[in-house]
Symmetry: C2
Subunit: 718 residues, 2 copies
């Protein structure tokens, strides 16, 4: 009985997994059995037959995924090889492979989608009800299939479908800060999933599941290696391995990119210089690029971190970023490649406010970059803090493509221990109004090219993926990989809708689960801001590894790496004056924005200490002194984690035991660490405020000396 | 329907996994559904009811494992909560919890087993047929349960059972060469499974499955950290984490041990010396040990690597190994702890043949070590080569406990790429006759204490486990973890029986699968010897990482690290003269053994070049010159791998697609690497032999210079 239907078995695997043990490997592609009998019947009736058009690897993959998902969700009653010819049919295939009468059903829809878009439409033909999943390309069809499956996963109706969707951003990419020794910089989910030693001949099954997961959210590119690059990845020994990965990813619509170390011509080319204007250097990159494209015809291009934190770059030869970027852009242009040039630059020789240093290195050069160069800008001007005002470069370069760099891995946000739903943070930045072209000039509009009419658009996410079985170290943090992907596809999505989707796909459609857990997730980022860096504080994590609080750290080799540089706590107050009376970082924003930041009465208190140095007894809008309010924020954050635990404890019956317990253990650590943050920071700042803890804030259980004595020589990711 | 029986679901999970996708996570505890209906019925009839005696954590674990295994293997027809009181019953519990009438059934059996042994017996009582699984302790019962389940897993009859079994070796331990940064020295299966950063509060489910796997083969101890130790593991911050792991492992009968860095009193104790005779040092270890036992009352003890390869030790203070070992032995003795003191010592200041250096450092001190010290000796006198004659210390210390150190991880045997079944290698050493007390004084008898009547006995295996989903990087290499465990329980087992067991447990009971794959495994070690180091060659792997051939390497800082030191190839011949005309390493063996090794006419040609420097035209027993024979051996090894591939290609229908394909890809790499070995070694040695390749040996496809130019800066495990 069991042997006959291989897809029945797929159903059984997944159904069982959801109840007993779930190691989290299957991410949001759980394809849980649809228990609601009438809903299941609606699906079965609509999907009596599947019909594929096209024969490419991509279409085969789409077909396989469809069968896998439907078998799993619909159980033994589903059969994809039905010979029932009176039935309703699901047709999928790209426009080029559809029959005329089907194309007629779609009217003008193909013109409404781009090359990666998809259409899912219900129609009747000759008395039968059909659903068509199509697009202008096979990849569009694949995306359509994933989105169709998502309808069932989220228990939506599939009657009268009329979905027309295209990605709004062209380059939707993951950045893996993976090193060749398989350590992952700022990685907290084990180690690199790329088994370089056994590539190209051993293709870990994880590579395929990685591709599936990314394709399911529309991620279409991956940078395999660390921005702190090793030139060896450009040698034949490694290019052969990169090629093998590219071959796995290609039918999923995922291009491979590499980080290019600017000094590679010296390190592996034997040249004496890497000067971007040197003829031999130009030729070296040209030949190297050709070599890569010979192996990987659709290689995406290079990411470059140059003249930043010790990385080599054009400024080593008194050239500028334009010279450097254009050097590489010229090399990849004949092959339709792009260069993602990172704007994360700040110099140890420049005493200007670190938040100001990127802008003058790029904005004056607007329009000088070749048109296949895109400048990769972090969401804020410092470095992925729990809260940062949006980066002043957004909207500021009308003639130059600009892309967002979000961090998914939680370098400053509790590693893989703290359950923090990041799409609320991403949303905050994407919805921020730059005012570069008047009101409504939100960051998302710069990113999707509509603000300044740009052709090349992109978004990058620094991956939180590692070789842990559940990929992200904490099952909850899979939501951030998922959410990042969704926002790269459509930066206008709400964090709430993403949380809702993800919870349904990954855990359960039960309202009694969704409602409380969604609220828990949506509040989690603010909780972290509260227990780590409230009211605009930033960069006060401990040295190097960034694990735990370290507001006292003042001894690092570069002043702008020290926490004291950022909070500037003294007996008078706390905070970084970035207004016109201070570093004047505000001047880099549009006047409407700068005016608000500059003005204590207008600025949102969330950003207060980012832009102002404020007395300890300064009265906030709620009448509390800054000190009291700060202390109460820390306590609020701790209480919010306690509340998350209370919520999660009630979810046991809705979740498999394994993931339930894993998340429970991690929430417990998060709670301990939130208290550690509160205690250490308040004890330290209290030395300057000289004010008592307000009522409602729990007393610390250790001394400041104790907290300062803590060392973590092997904290991961460093 | 599906919700009602949780164990039915367990059955479904596992059944399905076996057909479609199997990531190998469940090792040899697949508990595959018994498809043979009549056999299944025999089992169901015998197991109508389960009855537990006892309530400890261990018994609960045994009960859970029993139910898990039986549900999975017997399917929905099995119900462990049957109220059918007319049925045959499986009873399990320790002697102390059994009723008198049951104990009566067992006669004298309890006296025939030791504290960890078990009895599985069929009997009739009041007209009902029962099976009893019992032992003198709950751990014995747990072992009995695993062995009972194995009967079903291997499709054996469970009628008329009368199994009485005890482990023959007391301390059966894994050594993890895991570092605190989670890298694994000589690890090729990902990284360390110990998530130190999130211990003690996050208990990865893998810790439990690790414990289950080890308990199922009777492994009862684990050394968590690298022999190249970091003293930090003895600090409170880490001891808290160690304690958490010990708590997980305890009910599975697994004790935790740690590697002790000899200089810890200085590094973490603030002392100025680590002299074992210094009063403060003695006191420091006493207090530190007490601190550990306060947390972990059944802590096993310490492993020490001292005065070897740069590790600190007693000789730094002009003391000897006895002083060092007894220092620690005194500290742990009040708590019944042991000290495993490694004999792997050789000095860069001593030009004596490396193979000779351990013996004089230990054997003359026989009887001087405290009785809770056990000397840990590698299987051979160099370092885990594909073939080594047994270590001369076996049998040579009548008054001192000695334990075996085998390597499971394949440092010199192809990492996790090469499918090599190591129990044949272990068996070779265990069955080797030391002649210390006349004929029959095999190594196994020294290890189980019967040769010299020793009380403390042990075996250690350097683990091949990492955080890869399948634990060992290559599903086939799980067999070596399994086989090591079986031999630690009973060093007299045959490699063939182990291969048979493991294949049945892990893959299939089908004879058409077992027979050819068993043969493939049993030949695999000799194949590796052939394509790497035939005829007694050894230690000619490439520098540092030991990946691939490097017989030319001659530039390492210590002469006895250079391959040329070991093969001594010159125009006259090849091989290391260890006879009385050379280093006289043979004198360390019993005369009967030495005479054979010394005599060219008697010595097995497998050991020829380990003990003799032989002319290139020396005639072997088969009439071929040494050069021709060597070349043909290399070719034979390559052909054997090709044959393994042919065999495996025919196994597709017996194995799930995922593991089938994974192993297939790895065999393909093994074949390429076997040819690389053959070509590089023969090209290099040919410079000295000045003889052509004999007929039958394939010509190399690259030059010697090419092979010498290869670099692998990121080969794993280094």
């Amino acid at each position: 009985m069991f042997k006959k239907n291989i897809f029945f078995l797929a159903f059984l695997i997944v159904f069982c997994n959801n109840l007993l043990a779930n190691d989290g490997y299957h991410l949001w592609l759980q394809y849980s059995y649809v228990e609601n009998a009438s809903l299941r019947q609606e699906y079965l009736t609509a999907l009596e037959k599947l019909s594929t058009s096209g024969n490419s690897e991509t279409i085969k993959i789409a077909s396989k995924e469809l069968n896998r998902g439907l078998s799993s969700m619909l159980g033994p009653e589903f059969s994809s090889t039905s010979t029932n010819n009176n039935g309703n049919t699901l047709i999928f295939g790209a426009k080029a492979n559809l029959s005329e009468d089907v194309i007629l059903q779609l009217g003008n829809a193909f013109n409404e989608i781009n090359e990666e878009g998809y259409i899912i439409k219900s129609y009747s033909l000759k008395g039968k009800n059909h659903i068509i999943i199509t697009g202008n390309s096979d990849i569009g069809v694949l995306y359509g299939v994933y989105n169709f499956l998502k309808l069932l996963q989220t228990n939506k109706s599939i009657e009268k479908l009329n979905i027309i969707d295209s990605p709004k951003i062209k380059v939707r990419i993951l950045n893996h800060w993976d090193n060749l020794d398989r350590t992952v910089e700022r990685g907290y989910a084990g180690f690199s999933i790329w088994d370089w030693h056994r590539l190209p001949d051993y293709l870990d099954p994880r590579y395929t599941d990685y591709a599936r997961a990314n394709a399911s959210v529309g991620i279409n590119g991956t940078v395999l290696n660390n921005v702190n690059a090793n030139a060896l990845i450009l040698t034949p020994q490694y290019l052969e391995k990169v090629e093998a990965l590219a071959n796995v990813f290609r039918p999923y619509g995922i291009k491979v990119y590499l980080t290019a170390r600017f000094s590679a011509p010296i390190e592996i080319g034997g040249l004496k210089t890497a000067d971007p204007l040197d003829a031999d250097v130009i030729n070296w990159w040209k030949e190297k690029t050709k070599e890569i494209y010979n192996r990987i015809p659709d290689f995406g291009g290079f990411v470059v971190k140059a003249n930043s934190e010790g990385q080599p770059g054009p400024q080593d030869y008194d050239r500028n970023h334009v010279d450097g970027a254009n050097l590489l852009a010229t090399a990849v242009a004949p092959f339709n490649g792009i260069i993602m040039w990172r704007a994360f630059v700040y110099s140890e020789h420049d005493t200007t406010d670190r938040a100001k240093q990127a802008y003058p290195e790029f904005v004056p050069y607007d329009g000088q970059f070749k048109d296949n160069v895109i400048i990769q800008v972090k969401n804020g001007a410092i470095d992925f803090q729990p809260r940062e005002p949006f980066h002043p470069m957004f909207g500021a370069m009308p003639k130059t493509p600009i892309m967002m760099e979000f961090q998914i891995t939680q370098e400053y946000l509790g590693f893989s221990t703290h359950t923090i739903f990041l799409p609320t943070m991403y949303e905050e930045t994407l919805q921020a109004d730059t005012y570069r072209k008047g009101k409504g000039s939100i960051v998302a509009k710069d990113l999707d090219g509509t603000l300044h009419n740009k052709r090349l658009t992109g978004m990058a996410g620094v991956s939180n993926i590692g070789n842990d079985i559940n990929w992200t170290g904490n099952p909850m943090l899979q939501a951030n990989w998922y959410g990042y992907g969704r926002l790269a596809w459509d930066p206008y999505l709400s964090a709430e809708s993403i949380a809702d989707e993800w919870l349904r796909l990954t855990f359960s459609n039960n309202k009694k689960f969704i409602e409380p857990v969604k609220e828990m997730l949506l509040n989690s980022r603010e909780a972290a801001v509260n227990y780590m860096t409230p009211l605009g504080l930033h960069h006060i994590m401990d040295t190097g590894h960034h694990y735990g609080p370290g507001p006292w750290v003042s001894n690092l080799s570069r002043p702008e790496w020290n926490p004291i540089y950022y909070h500037k706590a003294d007996s008078l107050g706390i905070g970084f004056d970035r207004t016109s009376t201070g570093s004047n970082a505000t001047e880099q924003y549009a006047p409407e924005v700068a005016n608000v930041f500059n003005d204590l009465n207008s600025i949102s208190e969330k950003n207060l200490l980012w832009f102002h140095h404020v007395p300890w007894d300064y009265k906030l809008k709620n009448g509390k002194t800054l000190w009291d309010a700060m202390a109460l924020k820390y306590q609020e954050g701790v209480d919010q984690v306690a509340s998350m635990i209370t919520t999660w404890n009630q979810m046991e019956s809705y979740v498999d035991a394994e993931r339930y317990n894993n998340i429970k253990m991690l929430l417990n650590i998060q709670y301990k660490e939130a208290k550690w943050w509160r205690d250490a920071c308040l004890l330290y700042f209290q030395q300057y405020s000289n004010m008592p803890l307000p009522e409602g804030v729990e007393k610390p259980t250790q001394t400041l000396e104790y907290f300062q004595s803590l060392e973590f020589p092997f904290a991961p990711g460093n």
